[in-house]
C-alpha cells in the first residue's frame, strides 16, 4: 500500500447520498456507512428513500433507490438538506438527484453503468460525464465494475456476480475520503455471506480496492476529517425508528411483567416491526401474522382480554381497516397499542414515502364518540420512548393508545443512547384477582380506569363487548342516561391523562414574535430551522408535541404568548384544525405534501417570511 500523500481537511458536517438502481445495493451501502459513522463517533441522521415497486425496470428513473446521511461533530437533527457528495451508480440516479447537490459538490460515478442504453433510459442525449454539463462539480468517475473484476479475477465469479460488488468499491472510496477503518463492514460481509465464501471474498476485495483507489488517484486531493461529536456519556448505537418501536414494546413487556402479543398484517412501511418482533420469540413474544388488518387488531384485542400486552402496527390503509375494532377496544376499555407508521395517502397513495396526514383519522376517524390517547414519536431513536410511553398509558388507563410515527423516522436512523432499563418508569397494570366486590366496569378509581380481570381467574367471570354497558356492573344497558354518562366518561378518561403530561417548555423564549408548533417526525427540521433563525437574532421559538390527545395542559396559555403561531405539517393543516378548534387561536399552516420530509432551509425561509413579512 502506498504511503498516504494527501492532506486532510477538517469539516464540521457532511451530507452524502448514495444513489443507484434498486438492484445496486444502495440501502445496504448506506446502512454500512451509517453504522461505521456511528461507531466513529459522529452525530448522524439518515434517510433511506426507495421506490414503491420491488422491481422497477433496471436503469429507469422510477427504479432509483437512495440513502442519505448527514454526519457531524455537533448535534444534528436531520439527514441534511443539500448534498456535499452524491454517489451515482447509474445515469438515472444522477438525473434524479443532481439538483440536490451543492455547487462544487462531489459526484462519484460508476462509468460501467453509463452505457448508451442507461443514458437513454435516464433521458440523457449525451454522457454528462464528458459533455461538460457537470463542470460545476468535482467528478470522480471510474469504471468500478472493471476494477472490481480485476481485483476478484482469481475467485472466478460470473461477471454478473462481480458487478454486484461494485457498491462495495464505491463504499471503499467513501471510507477512504473520511479516513475510516471499516472492520464493521468486513465483519458484516463475512456474516452475511458466511455460506458463500466466494461472494464474501469478492465483496471484501471490492471494498479494499475502492479504498486503495481513493488513496492512489490524484483526483481526490484531500481526505476529510470530521471530529467526534460531543455526546452525553453512555453507550450508543445507531437506531432506526421501526426497530426502536420493537425495542420499546419489549421493554414495556418486561417492565409490566406481561407477555407481548403482536397481531398484525404486513404493510409498508410498518412490516419491519413485525419482522423484528418475530425474531424475539425467546422474549416470550407471540407474533400473529393475521389474514388481514382487521384480524391483526382484533386478535390483539382478544389477547388483551386474555391478559397480554397486546399491540399492533400498520400504516394508513391498514389503520382505516382497523377503525371499527379500535372502537371496540375503546368501549370495552382494554389496553392496546396501535402504531401507525404514516405514509402518503389517500388509498395506496405513496406507500414508501412519508406524510403526516393521519392525525385527524387518529383523532376522529371512528364512528360514535370514540376518543383514545394519541402520541407521536419525533425521531428514529425517540420511537423507543414514545412506544414505551404508549404502553404505559394503555396499561395504566385501560384504553387503546394510537402512536403515530411515519415512513421517514421509521426507516431513518440516528444515534440512540441505550437506556438504563431500571430507570425507565415502572409500568403498572390494573390486574385484579380478588373477586370480593369485583365489578367489571368499576370506574371508581381516580383515573377512571376499570379493573382488568382476565379469563382463568376464579370467581371473576364476566362478559364484555361492543354493546353499551352500565357503569359499575358492566351489564348491557340501553338506558339513555347511562349512555350519555358513559360517553362522557370515556372522554374524561382521556382528558384525565393530561394531569401527568409535563408542561411544554418552548425551545427558545416563553414569548415572542413567532412560535413554531409541530408534532411527530418533523422535529429535527423544525428545531434546526428555529435554531438557525435564532442564531440570527430572530424572535422565534419551538414547541414540539408528543401528546396530541390529550394536549398538554399549558399549551393554550403558551400559544397566546406569541404574536404568530406557525404550524408546519406534512399535511394540509391537521394539527392546525385541532389547535384552532380547541383554543380559538389563529394559526398559520405551512404544508408540504411531496412524500418528503421538510428541509431545514424551507422551514427557515418560512420563519423569516413570517417574522419579516
Amino acid at each position: 500500500m502506498s504511503e498516504t500523500k494527501k492532506q486532510v481537511t477538517e469539516l464540521t458536517d457532511v451530507t452524502i447520498r448514495f444513489a443507484g438502481d434498486s438492484g445496486d445495493g444502495m440501502q445496504l451501502t448506506g446502512t454500512q456507512f451509517s453504522d461505521n459513522t456511528a461507531i466513529f463517533g459522529n452525530d448522524l441522521a439518515t434517510f433511506p428513500d426507495y421506490p414503491a415497486e420491488i422491481r422497477a425496470p433496471a436503469g429507469s428513473l422510477a427504479g432509483v433507490s437512495s440513502f442519505q446521511i448527514q454526519f457531524s461533530n455537533r448535534d444534528i437533527h436531520t439527514p441534511g438538506d443539500d448534498l456535499d457528495v452524491l454517489v451515482s451508480m447509474n445515469p438515472a440516479a444522477l438525473k434524479v438527484h443532481l439538483a440536490d447537490l451543492k455547487e462544487n459538490g462531489m459526484i462519484i460515478i460508476n462509468d460501467a453503468n453509463f452505457t448508451k442504453r442507461n443514458l437513454q433510459l435516464a433521458g440523457y442525449d449525451s454522457n454528462p460525464v464528458d459533455d461538460g454539463s457537470l463542470s460545476n462539480f468535482r467528478v470522480i468517475h471510474v469504471d468500478m465494475t472493471k476494477l472490481v473484476t480485476i481485483a476478484t479475477e482469481e475467485i472466478g465469479l460470473s461477471p454478473k456476480l462481480v458487478a454486484r460488488s461494485s457498491n462495495m468499491f464505491a463504499l471503499g472510496i467513501v471510507y477512504w475520503m473520511y479516513g475510516r477503518k471499516f472492520d464493521n463492514t468486513i465483519k458484516f460481509i463475512k456474516d452475511k455471506f458466511s455460506s458463500k465464501p466466494d461472494i464474501s471474498e469478492a465483496n471484501v476485495r471490492a471494498l479494499n480496492a475502492g479504498f486503495n483507489y481513493g488513496e492512489t488517484i490524484e483526483v481526490i486531493k484531500t481526505s476529510f476529517h470530521i471530529s467526534k461529536a460531543v455526546f452525553e456519556p453512555g453507550t450508543y448505537r445507531n437506531m432506526m425508528g421501526n426497530m426502536a418501536v420493537a425495542y420499546g414494546f419489549l421493554a414495556a413487556a418486561q417492565s409490566s411483567g406481561l407477555n407481548l402479543f403482536y397481531g398484525g398484517y404486513p404493510i409498508t412501511p410498518a412490516s419491519d416491526i413485525l419482522h423484528y418482533l418475530s425474531g424475539y420469540k425467546h422474549f416470550n413474544v407471540k407474533t400473529f401474522q393475521a389474514e388481514d388488518e382487521i384480524a391483526g387488531v382484533v386478535s390483539a384485542i382478544g389477547a388483551a382480554y386474555a391478559g397480554d400486552l397486546a399491540v399492533t402496527a400498520t400504516s394508513g390503509p391498514g389503520m382505516a381497516l382497523k377503525t371499527e375494532a379500535i372502537g371496540l377496544a375503546i368501549i370495552t376499555e382494554l389496553p392496546l397499542v396501535i402504531v401507525n407508521v404514516q405514509r402518503g395517502g389517500p388509498s395506496t397513495g405513496l406507500p414508501t414515502k412519508t406524510e403526516q396526514s393521519d392525525l385527524l383519522q387518529a383523532m376522529w376517524g371512528r364512528h360514535g364518540e370514540a376518543p383514545c390517547a394519541i402520541l407521536a414519536a419525533s425521531s428514529p431513536a425517540d420511537c423507543f420512548e414514545a412506544t414505551y410511553e404508549a404502553c404505559r398509558i394503555a396499561l395504566k388507563y385501560m384504553m387503546p393508545v394510537i402512536l403515530l410515527t411515519d415512513g421517514y423516522i421509521a426507516n431513518g436512523s440516528e444515534p440512540w443512547k441505550l437506556p438504563d432499563l431500571d430507570k425507565l418508569p415502572k409500568l403498572t397494570t390494573r390486574r385484579v384477582t380478588d373477586p370480593e366486590g369485583y365489578q367489571s366496569f368499576d370506574h371508581s378509581s381516580e383515573i377512571l380506569a376499570r379493573p382488568w380481570a382476565i379469563p382463568g381467574t376464579p370467581g371473576m367471570e364476566h362478559r364484555i363487548g361492543g354493546l353499551e354497558k352500565s357503569d359499575g356492573l358492566g351489564h348491557v344497558s340501553h338506558n339513555p342516561l347511562n349512555h350519555h354518562h358513559m360517553v362522557k366518561l370515556r372522554q374524561k378518561k382521556v382528558d384525565i391523562i393530561a394531569k401527568e403530561i409535563p408542561d411544554e417548555i418552548p425551545f427558545g423564549d416563553t414569548s415572542g414574535d413567532l412560535l413554531v408548533l409541530g408534532w411527530g417526525g418533523t422535529k429535527g427540521a423544525l428545531r434546526s430551522a428555529v435554531a438557525r433563525a435564532r442564531g440570527e437574532g430572530k424572535s422565534v421559538s419551538h414547541v414540539h408535541l408528543r401528546y396530541l390527545n390529550p394536549l398538554p395542559n399549558n399549551l393554550g396559555e403558551l400559544l397566546l404568548k406569541y404574536k404568530k403561531v406557525l404550524i408546519p405539517e406534512l399535511n394540509l393543516g391537521q394539527l392546525a384544525i385541532i389547535i384552532r378548534a380547541k383554543y380559538l387561536v389563529d394559526t398559520i399552516s405551512f404544508s408540504k405534501l411531496q412524500g418528503k420530509p421538510f428541509t431545514i432551509t424551507e422551514v427557515y425561509q418560512r420563519i423569516i417570511k413570517e417574522i419579516e413579512g
Binding site: D35, A38, A295, G302, G456, H462, R463
Partner: protein
C-alpha cells in the same frame, strides 16, 4: 377459598347459567342450543374460569351474556379472530365461538377460513338458520337460491355456501353438523367437539321461527325426520329410515339410497369413516340434496398439531437456542460505542 370451591365441588349445568334474562324470541332454536352447551360443559373437567365464549354479531351472538363464564361479544364477523388472539395468548383457555351463518360465512368469511386453516384449538358453533334474523329477515349466504326475503322480493340470486364443504376446503380438522331439536345427537357432537384438539366446526341447524320458520322442519318433524336424516356413526354402515331399512351405497363417486331387503344387504351399505376426508367431501355434497338424506354427526376428524402449541414450541426452542431473552444483551448486540 373460591379456588377450592371451583376445583372440588363438581360443576353442574346451573353453574353456567348467568343471571341475565334470555332475550331471544320465544321458541327460537337458540334456547335449545344454549341448554345443550350448558349441559355438557360440567362434564369437561375444565375449571369454570377457564371457559371463554366469544361471539360476533347476530341473534346467536348474544349467547355469551347467558353463560356464567368469561365472555366477549365482539363485532360483526370477527369472533374467530378475537378468539384466536385470546387462545394464542393463553392456551389454557377452553375457547368457544358462537356465530351465525351471516357472521361466519359472510362478513367474517375470511377469519373463518383462516382460523380453520391454522387449526387453533377452539370450538366454533355456527347457528345456521339460513336467514338474517337480527336485521329482520334478509337472505344469508346459506339461503337457498330463489329465496324470497325482504331484500330479495323476486328471489335471491346468490348460490349458497355449503358449510361443511367450505370448512373441509379450508383445512378444518373437526367438521360436524347438529340440529337444535335433536338433543341426543347434539350432546354427543358437542362433547367430541370440545375434546378435539384443534378447530372444531359444528354447523348447528337452528330454526328461526320469525323469519325462516320451518326451514329444517323436514329434518325435525316426527313423521319425516327418520327418512331425511342420516346419523353418521364412525365405523358403522350409513343406515337410516323409520325401521333403519335404508342405506347409502356408493356407485362410482355418487351416493344412492338403497332399501335393505331382498336386493341389497347390510354389506352393500357404505361404512362411515370419520377420518376419511374424501368421504367427508362426498357427504357434504348431500347438504342441499332433495333426494338423499341430510348427514348429521361428525363428518371428519383429523389429529394434527394445533397452532397455539406450535407457537409455544417455537418459543421454547428459541429459548433453548438463544437463552431467555435479555434486553440489555439485545440492545448491545450490534455496533455500539461508548462515550465517556
Amino acid at each position: 377459598m373460591t379456588d377450592t370451591n371451583t376445583m372440588t365441588t363438581p360443576l353442574t349445568r346451573k353453574d353456567f347459567v348467568s343471571n341475565q334474562e334470555v332475550r331471544w324470541c320465544p321458541g327460537c332454536g337458540d334456547y335449545a342450543i344454549l341448554s345443550q352447551v350448558q349441559k355438557i360443559l360440567p362434564k369437561m373437567g375444565i375449571p369454570k374460569e377457564n371457559f371463554l365464549f366469544v361471539s360476533g354479531i347476530g341473534c346467536s351472538s348474544r349467547f355469551p351474556y347467558y353463560m356464567e363464564t368469561y365472555g366477549f361479544h365482539s363485532i360483526h364477523g370477527r369472533a374467530t379472530a378475537l378468539a384466536s388472539g385470546a387462545k394464542v395468548a393463553n392456551p389454557e383457555l377452553s375457547v368457544w365461538v358462537i356465530t351465525g351463518d351471516g357472521d361466519a360465512m359472510s362478513i367474517g368469511g375470511n377469519h373463518f377460513i383462516h382460523t380453520l386453516r391454522r387449526n387453533i384449538d377452539m370450538n366454533i358453533l355456527m347457528f345456521n338458520n339460513r336467514i338474517y334474523g337480527l336485521t329482520k329477515g334478509q337472505y344469508s349466504p346459506t339461503s337457498e337460491i330463489g329465496k324470497v326475503t325482504k331484500s330479495s322480493p323476486l328471489g335471491s340470486l346468490d348460490y349458497p355456501f355449503n358449510p361443511p364443504a367450505l370448512a373441509l376446503g379450508a383445512g378444518g380438522t373437526f367438521i360436524a353438523r347438529a340440529i337444535d331439536r335433536d338433543q341426543g345427537a347434539s350432546l354427543e357432537i358437542l362433547e367430541r367437539a370440545a375434546k378435539h384438539k384443534g378447530t372444531s366446526f359444528v354447523e348447528y341447524y337452528q330454526n328461526c321461527l320469525i323469519f325462516n320458520d320451518g326451514v329444517f322442519s323436514h329434518l325435525t318433524e316426527k313423521n319425516t325426520k327418520d327418512d331425511t336424516v342420516l346419523h353418521l356413526v364412525h365405523n358403522q354402515p350409513m343406515r337410516f329410515g323409520k325401521d333403519n331399512n335404508k342405506g347409502l351405497r356408493l356407485v362410482g363417486s355418487q351416493f344412492e339410497v338403497i332399501e335393505l331387503g331382498s336386493k341389497f344387504g347390510i354389506n352393500d351399505v357404505f361404512v362411515h369413516n370419520e377420518n376419511d376426508k374424501n368421504l367427508a367431501m362426498l357427504l357434504s355434497e348431500l347438504t342441499y340434496s332433495d333426494v338423499l338424506p341430510t348427514p348429521v354427526g361428525i363428518f371428519y376428524v383429523k389429529d394434527t398439531p394445533t397452532y397455539e402449541t406450535m407457537v409455544e414450541d417455537q418459543i421454547e426452542r428459541a429459548i433453548k437456542i438463544k437463552g431467555k431473552g435479555d434486553l440489555n444483551k439485545l440492545f448491545n448486540s450490534s455496533g455500539t460505542w461508548v462515550v465517556e
